[in-house]
Every structure is written in structure tokens, then in C-alpha cells.
């Protein structure tokens, strides 16, 4: 699976955190936290969901590079291309 194919799966996980989201509400190349009302607890829970679903470790020092769904998808694919 490539990063583009991964984006809808990430959106599925995001919607569990923010169930008010509808398809098309989040542009994958735009800053996630500008588009979705996520506090730090939501953000941590979203990353835990990504970690558990796609079996990737996410260092806290990498958080700043994970600002869009595209960036998160690329991060996941780069670290676990088989299972993602």
C-alpha cells in the first residue's frame, strides 16, 4: 500500500476521535489541526490508533513532522511498508 492509499484508512482512525467529520472535510495536504478540533489528548489518541493499526513506532520528537494526513501516511509507509 502506498501513502495515497493509506490516507483514507488514516481518516477512518481520525473519525473515531472526531466522529463529527464527514468525507471530504479534511484535505490531506493541509494542516490537520487547522481543519479538525483536536486537543493534545485527541492527538495522542489518534497517534496511538495509528501505531496500533499500522504497527509503527512514532517518536515524540517526530510529532512536528506529522502535521498533515499526507505526512503521516508517508511516515507510516516509510517505516512499515509491508503491513501498511
Amino acid at each position: 500500500m502506498n501513502a495515497k492509499e493509506l490516507v483514507p484508512l488514516l481518516f477512518q482512525e481520525l473519525r473515531k476521535i472526531a466522529p463529527e467529520l464527514e468525507e471530504g472535510d479534511v484535505a490531506p495536504d493541509k494542516l490537520l489541526r487547522d481543519q479538525v478540533d483536536l486537543d493534545s489528548m485527541d492527538w495522542l489518541n489518534f497517534l496511538i490508533a495509528v501505531h496500533q493499526r499500522f504497527k509503527v513506532e512514532i517518536a515524540e520528537s517526530d510529532y512536528a513532522t506529522l502535521a498533515t494526513l499526507d505526512q503521516i501516511a508517508a511516515y507510516v509507509v516509510a517505516r512499515n511498508p509491508q503491513d501498511s
Partner: protein
Amino acid sequence: MIEFKLPSLGADMDEGKLLEWKVKPGDAVRKGDVVAVVDTTKAAVEVETWQEGVVESLLVEPGTTIPVGTTIARFLAPGEKPGAAPAVPLPPGPPVAGERRPVSPAARRRARELGIDPEGIPGTGPHGAVTIEDVERATKAVPAAAPVDRGAEMRKSIAAAMSRSKREIPHYYLAESIPMQRAQDWLSAENARRPLTGRILMAAVQLKAVALALRGFPELNGTWRDGAYQPSASVNTGVAISLRQGGLVAPGIRDVQDLAIDDLMAKLADLVKRARAGSLRSSEFSDPTITITNLGDTGVEATYPVIYPPQVAIVGLGRIALRPWVEEGAVVARPVVVATLSADHRVSDGHRGAAFLAELSRRLQEPEKL
């Protein structure tokens, strides 16, 4: 005979709607057992008992709206024989036909969002339980009823509680800029060696620091009831949690001063999750002795919150931002948070409030001791 009454779950609650009983006549109940689920304007709340006994009778049918303080069940005290107590009339309420079907919490929430009654939906889950899929299916089969305007109800409740607070409590307000470099450095190092699932948020660090700082300020941690102040030995912090559909709740975590930071983080995560899922317990609304509202995630610099009665103080935290800071005569950029205190002049003065904020700042400079 023990009369079990609908408790008040905060200054903004006058009544509640009984959604379901969790016990039946003959059941033994112990302290902390959930006996009923009651819908308030803010959330469905699991109501606990704080007495031991055996359920003798349930006096209110599910679906009934009842004022706070109404006796809703009777328990036999330990060793007591049935039949001695006088009958208590049932409050008026709609009759419930037939046997009630179990409804999963998620299905109940979804049904509420859609404005439909889950009791009338055929269930396909275990023992005929109504599942969220059943609810979704039912909305396609029948025209939707008028949606419940829960947001408007919650706004009314918040307005009533906050109006009462501003009317009755002589507030004073203080603010303190607190350097957060040490707390951030400590937290980064701590989280770097933790798995993702064990990481700590700054909100938990700040919560613990507030609780420890309060040890020396009993006049800020307690409740004002019947014209008198009652300080609390334990720090039960209400945490203001915004709900995704709008509004907020402020359930509490008990004995924060004694919790290890990992335990506090776990309790905070659990509380936020359950608040947003609508599965809080009555004690979590009635316990808090002070509230903390953290609006740092919204980007706001500082917040000047309104005290939540019967508490006498509330601590506000803004975002941690890089700001010019003077150290050893030089201006440097440092992460800083503005902590505020709104407190009740009937119980404390600004001098003590200021000393509390200074103590909070001191605690946050020693994060390893939290």
C-alpha cells in the same frame, strides 16, 4: 430502610431523567455500585450508591424526569427485614409497556443524536440488545422524530450555574507567567523513553503541580455550603472537558495529590474518553473541590474562568508559548504559560491567591518531584 435519592450532580442540575436501572429488587448493593443511569442536560451519568443494603423496591420507571432529591429507590439496611417501611408514592411519569430491552451505551448515544427512542427498536445483539447498527437501521426504516436540542439544554444549564456563581460569589482574579522550560525538558526526556501508549501530556504534569501546590492553601480547595466553607483534605480536581458536540463538563479525579504521574495520566485519559462517550459517574460530578480549565490547546494566551459552585476556586491555564524572558539580566526566549486563579473572596484574599500561584510556579520548576 434506606431512601435512595436522586443526587445533585452539580450546581447546574435541578432534575434528571431516569434512563435505566442497573439493579433490581433483591440485589445486594455496596458502596460505589452503579444503581441507575440518569440523563442530565449535559450527559448520561451512572449514579452510584454510597450505602450498603439490599434493593427493596424501585420507585421510578425509566423514562421519568424527576427533581433532584426525589427518593427513587429503597434499600433494606444490612440485617433489616422487608415490609416495615411506609409506601412512597411514585412521581408522575410515562408508563413503560412490556419488558425493557437492553440497549448498548453506544446505541443509546446514537439514538439520542438521531432523536429516536432506542426502546422501540428491535435488537439483534446478545439477549436481544439494541446495537448501534440496529439504531442506524431503524433511522432508515422510519421517519426521524424531531431531534433533541441537547446543545440548547446544556447551554441553559451552564448559563444557570455560571449566573449563580457570578451573582453569589465575589470573585477575584490573578495571573502569573510561569516559565516552562524545565517542565518541557523533563517531559520530553521522560516521553522519549516511553512507548507511545505510556506517554504523558503536559496537562497531567500541570494538574499534579496544582494539586501539590494546593497542600499549603486549604482556603482554595473545598466547598461553600449553607453559608460556611468546608476545606477538603484531599484534592479532587474537576477537569473542564469540552465535548465535541459543544458545551463542557467538569468531572473530577480524586486525590490527585497522591497519584503517581502515570496513574494521573491514565485517569485523565480515561476521564476524557468517558466524558465524550457519555459514561461518567455521579461521584465524578459531586466530588470536585477545585476545577482546572486548560485552554492551552486552543491557542489562547490566558483564561479567567468562572468558579463552579460550590467550589471556591478555579485555575486556568493558557497555551505554552515562546516569550521574551529575563534570565540573569539577559532577555532570552523561553516557553511560558500564563496561569490564572479565580477565587472566592468569602474564603480567601488576593495575597493568599498570589502565594498559591507562586507556589505553583515553584512546583513546575521541579517537575521530577511531581
